[in-house]
Symmetry: C2
Subunit: 372 residues, 2 copies
């Protein structure tokens, strides 16, 4: 066994996306203590830039010390009280995972289903909310990573409040890639990941919690099942006070990386990042359509950062992806669930969303398909 | 706001410990996909070297994608069925945290208490097991990071089996620093951290689960509350099969770091690492005793990697630690709980366990105390 030197890939799958060298370097800086005043100062900067990225003033805006799935779990573990009725929208893998969370924490899941590849139907949601006036929470995925569909978070959150529900929004793939306005849209609890449009290393889940959601957490009848994710405790370390109380050891170096990635986002300007994703998506989709490759998602609901396309008839999925990986060092994503073997998911996330990547992808894909 | 360039510290607190430059460099290598064949190969090497470090053949030996507290939670979330009687030994902060876990997962905690600074009393544990023949689990901390006390894991695990209990062992601070033999001692579930004697970045928790514990998990009457930590699901990604199924996105770069740290441990030889910790502890404690500084823990139960000493009378705790940090870039740890302001915790963990660090620590501490 020897040191691991990874191959140099171009990451155009559903995440992780290419990590910028500035972020990689940041992670390699010397570790310091998680209560070191220098570290505590950096934590404040992370909170400030995360608020900027989420477009929120929520004081409880912080990175959970674990991947996106743990961010999801943080929201559900803290917000679902046993017996709570939760309306959950399923139009892909991550809506299903939300339902799993609700059930495991003792909630009652009321499912609103839409076909994979479609956006969540706001009409159906309104109907279900109307029929379940005792529902406490509406949960949905803003950018469904399994299909590439974008749902109308603004309207859904408005409906949630209209029917006295708290909203929980999965923004794992949306943060930094498409418009997301936590305060304007009145999102109550939102979680994301670092390895998508923030282009940082995988392993951290930024979250933001509104005052309204916080009130629900403080009024819980039962303790949060998870000690590690209990926000009442985590707040002692990440909360507003300047006095940081030890809860768990923060992932120091990974947070250096997150700090650098948020700094880069602020340097570019988040609105500019949204525009860049949209512009490059257009170029990629023009190229794919010129190759007669069809998209799964209707134009109006397509995520620019995640392009799900049908594998042309007669083409061997595994062979193409392996050839791209082995010969071109290019990773694109496979389909999930019913779409396994039927679609590819081509990511244009964060630092991976560059003209040179699009060029490589179109040209390599075309060469491999021509050969096949 | 600008890039964060941390001060260069010497980390001799309770963790994180100094991270070796080889590990820092490893983390900065380019990110690849978590299902990339190259990555999957590296995962196998991590499993092999983790088995070596834990001295086990347990197939389910893997790193949890979150800090030590999540490793603890993984063990309790999977092994405690609601209603289970769990005998838990408390002789410091981390035994208390175990109890929190047991209660949150619906277990009944039967507490065996020992004074902070003492080892867990095997006699008391035997008595309690005798009085609670229906107990299902015995849980204790091998190396209590809050006090620096080592407990007799071998005897405790033997007692557990004698009374038909599964054993859950906290080895966060012990792994790589003192003798730990998962198979020989028949430990059923053990968790550790990367930021102590493995000298890797904080954020990952290696665990190992025996066949016997696995059988209990498979026979659970209720689903594991946590989706993220449910070993039935995590095994699809980290388990024995060559086919790795997506569960959550692995913290790719952090695992590069863990891989490098385990490689370094194998290069040194784990028994040699144990000897190095013991030898250097002797030098440090001779030096401290020469300064008339007294240890909290009796000699027989002292952890070489965590030296808890009483703050000399009349000395200002905060002033000394701040001076060491600001003037010498040296971090030592504060006391916790009832020992806050009364003790210091001086770590000699992994890469921080070197003669030059001991020399710096003794000389700086002596200068600061003389001045004060």
């Amino acid at each position: 066994m020897k040191s691991f030197n990874p191959p140099i890939r171009t990451l155009m799958g559903p995440g992780p996306s290419d990590v910028h060298p500035r972020i990689l370097s940041a992670m390699a800086r010397p570790t310091i203590g998680h209560l070191d005043p220098a570290f505590v100062g950096m934590m404040d900067e992370i909170k400030t830039t995360l608020k900027y990225a989420f477009k929120t003033e929520n004081e409880l805006t912080m990175p959970v010390s674990a991947p996106g799935s743990a961010g999801m779990e943080t929201c559900f573990a803290n917000l679902v009280d046993p017996g709570d009725k939760v309306v959950v929208c399923i139009n892909g893998v991550f809506g299903m995972r939300m339902k799993e969370n609700i059930m495991r924490f003792g909630g009652e899941a009321i499912v609103v289903e839409d076909d994979w590849g479609n956006a969540v139907s706001t009409d159906k949601v309104e109907q279900v909310l109307k029929n379940n006036k005792d529902a406490k929470i509406l949960a949905f995925v803003h950018a469904e990573t399994s299909t590439g569909a974008r749902s109308d978070a603004k309207t859904l959150c408005k409906l949630a409040h209209q029917y006295n529900c708290i909203s929980i929004v999965d923004a794992v793939t949306s943060l930094g890639g498409i418009e997301l306005r936590v305060d304007d849209w009145e999102i109550d609890a939102v979680y994301s990941g670092t390895q998508k449009c923030l282009s940082a290393m995988p392993g951290i889940s930024p979250i933001s919690i509104s005052e309204r959601a916080l009130a629900k957490i403080k009024n819980r009848k039962t303790p949060v099942t998870s000690w590690f994710l209990d926000l009442n405790l985590v707040m002692g370390y990440w909360g507003g006070s300047t006095q940081r109380t030890y809860h768990h050891t923060a992932p120091v170096n990974t947070l250096y990386g997150l700090h650098e990635s948020l700094l880069m986002l602020a340097e570019e300007g988040i609105e500019n990042a949204w525009v860049r994703h949209q512009k490059n998506h257009q170029i990629l989709s023009d190229g794919l359509e010129a190759m007669r490759i069809k998209f799964l998602v209707k134009k109006a609901h397509r995520l620019p950062q995640l392009n799900t396309v049908f594998i042309p008839k007669g083409v061997d999925d595994g062979l193409v992806r392996n050839t791209l990986l082995n010969d071109y060092n290019l990773e694109i994503g496979a389909g999930l669930g019913a779409y396994a073997g039927k679609v590819w998911r081509i990511g244009l996330m964060g630092h991976a969303c560059r003209l040179e990547n699009i060029s490589l992808c179109l040209s390599a894909l075309s060469a491999v398909l021509d050969k096949g």
